[in-house]
Amino acid sequence: MRSVLTWRRLPGWRQLLSILVTLLLVQALSVTGLLSRDSFPLPSEVLVRLGELVTGAGFWVSVGDSLGQAMLGLALGTAVAVPLGLLLGRFAPAEQAVRPIIEFLRPIPSIALLPLVILTAGVGMSGSVILTGLSSLWMVLVLAIRGARATDPVAEQTLVSFGVPPLARVWRLVLPSALPFILTGIRIAASVALVVAITVELLGGMPGLGKDVQASLQNGDKAGVYAYTIAAGLLGLLVNFVFVPIEDRLLSWHSSRRAAR
């Protein structure tokens, strides 16, 4: 069944055909001048440009930078969010007490802190990681709190009645119950972290694909703008694509997955 699932995610012939048709359509529109050549380079040019990029080393350094900033931030944010979320989720009054503060901080776009970060941490990796970390933190925190609440009280009372000590209860029961929520949070946070990384690269000049897009735009390299953009979109798909099977595997014991099979 797992292999079937994996196959399903791969594009079939219809998808490939459809992508091809879309490209040909845009090509036709550009060649006939219906799409302004000033704004839209020919898809063929963009693809050639993309081909040049992937055979050069600089492109892969950029990919590594973008991914690295996103994943490092994700790791840091998760490391803070999971224990904090479990703690808050276990103690409802504490969660209620700090909820207004969380609700206030959560919607602040991390981009708003970009200038401050540039001024204090500079335009290197570390500045970017602060922001990707912050964004991941909120995303995972909210789901970790919900996950900690998903503990079955009957199971909990059973463990208590058998005299299982509190820490062991957290390890054996609370964490596994919260895991589906936490992993969902991490999967979403991974996408968000990549988006934030590329955004701060474009706006702030941190190294990565976002910076390359901005540089191409300033050099008037339109094919480059689109080539880097497509590369970043594919990278986003890849991050999704990688995290979903990880989630599936780690949660194979969980009833929601068993039922799906």
């Binding site: 839209f40 798909l237 991050v239 999704n240």
Partner: protein, 254 residues
């Protein structure tokens, strides 16, 4: 009584305590980047409790509002069309998934090439970022009609428009709403980012201006404002969501 205590009093006290702590710890701050809360609040009062609110904040809200509206109309329209044609999905799915995975900020450079750097570009970027979650949620929503309900509509001879109006649309509304909820923070971020990139007004512009001229208290006041706007918007969205659930939710009532 106990609920009031834990639900309102304690959270309020804790919030005040944290704000107080911030106030005290930052009171003697000489750091350029982390000014005293006192300065931030007085900057907040001068910047946002004045006529400047209209010239700096309203343009931002207008862009988010119009961008979201365009995103919703386009997303629901196209999503409903794709969702209704069962065979269409595999042909458009890769393109849609790609657009959703694309970091929204990257819509900005092409938009600049097409629309320049004015308001149209910003609204266009916001709309083009917000549309994907709404569109995909609408496709799902239109698809999620119970098969029994579809059978019922056919047996009792409901014409297509009646099935859409009375069965498909109400089924899709909660899904569409969750798409809107996902799109709103994206639109918000893209608004700030696009104004940060190039603008003559708006919150993002204000943040970029004040920080490059080292008016950090002013910058922090904008961050506080963004948090407050976020709280207000999220509350509105939650209230609207509960209303929609009450009207269209399946088993929210049991």
């Amino acid at each position: 009584m106990k609920r009031l205590m834990y639900g309102v009093v304690v959270p309020a006290l804790v919030t005040l305590a944290v704000a107080g702590l911030w106030w005290v710890l930052s009171a003697s701050s000489t750091s350029l980047f982390f000014p005293p809360l006192r300065d931030i609040l007085s900057a907040f009062a001068t910047n946002w409790l004045s006529a400047d609110f209209a010239s700096m904040v309203l343009p931002s809200l207008w862009r988010v509002g119009l961008g979201m509206l365009i995103g919703i109309v386009a997303g629901v329209g196209v999503g409903a069309a794709i969702g209704s044609v069962r065979r269409a999905e595999p042909y458009v799915k890769p393109q849609l998934e790609f657009m959703r995975a694309l970091p929204p900020i990257l819509i900005l450079p092409p938009m600049i090439l097409v629309l320049g750097t004015g308001d149209g570009m910003k609204i266009g970027v916001i709309a083009a970022s917000a549309v994907w979650p709404i569109l995909l949620a609408t496709v799902d929503g239109v698809r999620s009609l119970e098969p029994v309900r579809d059978d019922m509509g056919r047996v009792f001879g409901l014409p297509w428009r009646a099935r859409f109006r009375w069965m498909i649309l109400p089924t899709a509304v909660p899904h569409i709403w969750s798409g809107v909820r996902a799109a709103l923070p994206i639109a918000f971020v893209v608004m700030v980012a696009s104004e940060y990139y190039s603008s003559v007004n708006g919150i993002g512009y204000f943040v970029s201006q004040t920080s490059t001229s080292f008016r950090l208290a002013d910058m922090w006041s904008a961050v506080v404002l963004l948090g407050l706007i976020g709280v207000v918007l999220n509350t509105l969205v939650a209230v609207a969501g509960r209303r929609l659930d009450k009207k269209f939710g399946e088993n929210a009532h049991d």
